[in-house]
Symmetry: C2
Subunit: 299 residues, 2 copies
């Protein structure tokens, strides 16, 4: 599981402060979360091939999370994309994108599938052999979801040395991965004597933007990583409540109560010059905190 | 007259290659022409105060000329703008922007006036005491206009030394500026003996994007500066014709035939590493050529 932070700042435009977008590499997928203005250039900087992005998850339709999407989709077309693209986001996203592409006479020449969201309950929106994605309904000024990316349990891992010592041929390793015992010269070799347990499946919870909203705790419980917005410090809690954003202390409270492995903060208001204050404030509640930074890769 | 090039590259996304946007300072106005993705950050880099932008002219609704506008308008709101904003662009621009702002629940809290264009003839779309703006209908894959910014003739310029030698009091200088003769101790002083002619009014013609289209020549005749797109070199004339863009040679032909003062090239395809080739190709037809560059200020 690898996270590339493409942008982690709030809406106010500044040189070298990109609005929200993240890319999650998980089990062979490259999931794009949010797409603020300039995301396509941030993807170029991070040397991410556009063609590997097949699923884009938009939390809400505020510009700093969404206004990079029309340009990215247009560029896909310009670059001759043929692979289907799936876009998940609030109801209205299809109408908006369709209108913009129509006005530009640039309708996508690849299959473009919209999955519009309007439920206030967590729901499964993607599922395949390796990963499931659930919405995390958040509390913001407009309809907003976070997203929970959950790996499925992988295969058992063959202890090559032990398996070879037991005389098991490589052609039978696939059976071992699937958890089966195997016969060697008529003798049954128990699976767990020559395999290790699968790596524990990982979970990433992406929560942006939201007021302090403890209802999400059961959904994100035990996630390995939690990205939680912290637009403000506690000294501006009044502004956080007014704009339905969170403080670093509130993000850390969610992280502690959900017993996550690591908290990643971001979406900082431009008013703060010293971002270390976010770490300090959060660490008083929850120890394992890191700050997102544009271009950072977390793995 | 001062031109700030905010972006001058074609649509393909690249680090440090911004899509089209320009800012024209003319007679106290700051006119924004086109607004590709990232324009608001380019304005920040150029240290342009957002509040001074009151008129935005969008040539066409392709993303690399338009997809920075929703974010810019949202930022105006975020920053507490109160001044009215006028947006001139192809029919459809109002519906698109209105939908995006509605979905974000971010309707402008300042007066937002749309001036939708659909004529195929040049028309006057702005006029005040100092400047007139006309459309320049272009030929592209979607409905597209360039814009001609024409200063009005200014006041006569008082020759302070001569005026004082003739005994004219400063309180009468305004009359001189207006072209009137004045009385000094009962003696008539002729205006042209103590004033200079006004500076000749300047004209800027902005033409992006367009195929080679000689119909524009009468409209832009004698402009001091002409920005004309040159996406391609003549070696790719087939691509230029297919995509309805121009080559450097074609842009220079328009400049020569319109007898402009200076040609500014831009909207280069990302395929060209050496932009000097554009200058060379154009200079063979028209000598006074410069290349637009992101961040360049031309005055």
């Amino acid at each position: 599981m690898k996270l590339t932070v493409l942008g982690c700042h709030s809406a106010s435009p500044h040189e070298n402060k990109n609005p929200t977008a993240q890319l999650l590499d998980i089990k062979g997928h490259r999931f794009l979360m949010d797409c603020g203005e300039g995301t396509q250039v941030q993807l170029r900087k991070a040397k991410v091939s556009f063609v590997h992005i097949k699923h884009i998850f938009i939390s809400h339709l505020h510009g700093d999370h969404f206004y990079g999407l029309p340009g990215l989709v247009s560029s896909f077309r310009l670059l001759g994309r043929e692979a289907p693209l799936h876009i998940y986001g609030p109801k209205g996203i299809k109408e908006a994108l369709t209108l913009l592409l129509k006005l530009a006479n640039s309708w996508a020449n690849f299959p473009l599938h919209f999955h519009e969201l309007e439920s206030n309950n967590s729901e499964c929106i993607f599922d395949d052999d390796s990963v499931t994605v659930y919405t995390i309904p958040l509390k913001h000024r407009v309809y907003t979801n976070g997203f929970l990316f959950a790996e499925k349990e992988g295969f058992r891992r063959v202890n090559t040395e032990a398996a070879q010592a037991a005389g098991i041929d490589k052609s039978q390793f696939r059976l071992l991965e699937l958890g089966q015992d195997v016969l060697v010269d008529g003798v049954l070799v128990k699976n767990d004597s020559v395999t290790h347990n699968p790596h524990p499946p990982k979970k990433y919870a992406y929560c942006s933007d939201t007021a302090f909203f403890p209802s999400i705790v059961p959904i994100i419980k035990g996630a390995d990583w939690l990205y939680h917005e912290s637009t403000f410090l506690q000294q501006h809690a009044d502004l956080a409540h007014q704009t339905q954003h969170s403080t670093a202390q509130e993000a850390a409270t969610i992280a502690r109560d959900a017993n996550v492995g690591r908290l990643i903060l971001g979406h900082y208001s431009a008013r703060y010059k010293n971002l270390d204050l976010f770490t300090q404030e959060a660490k008083a509640i929850f120890p394992n905190v890191i700050l997102a930074a544009d271009g950072a890769v977390i793995s």
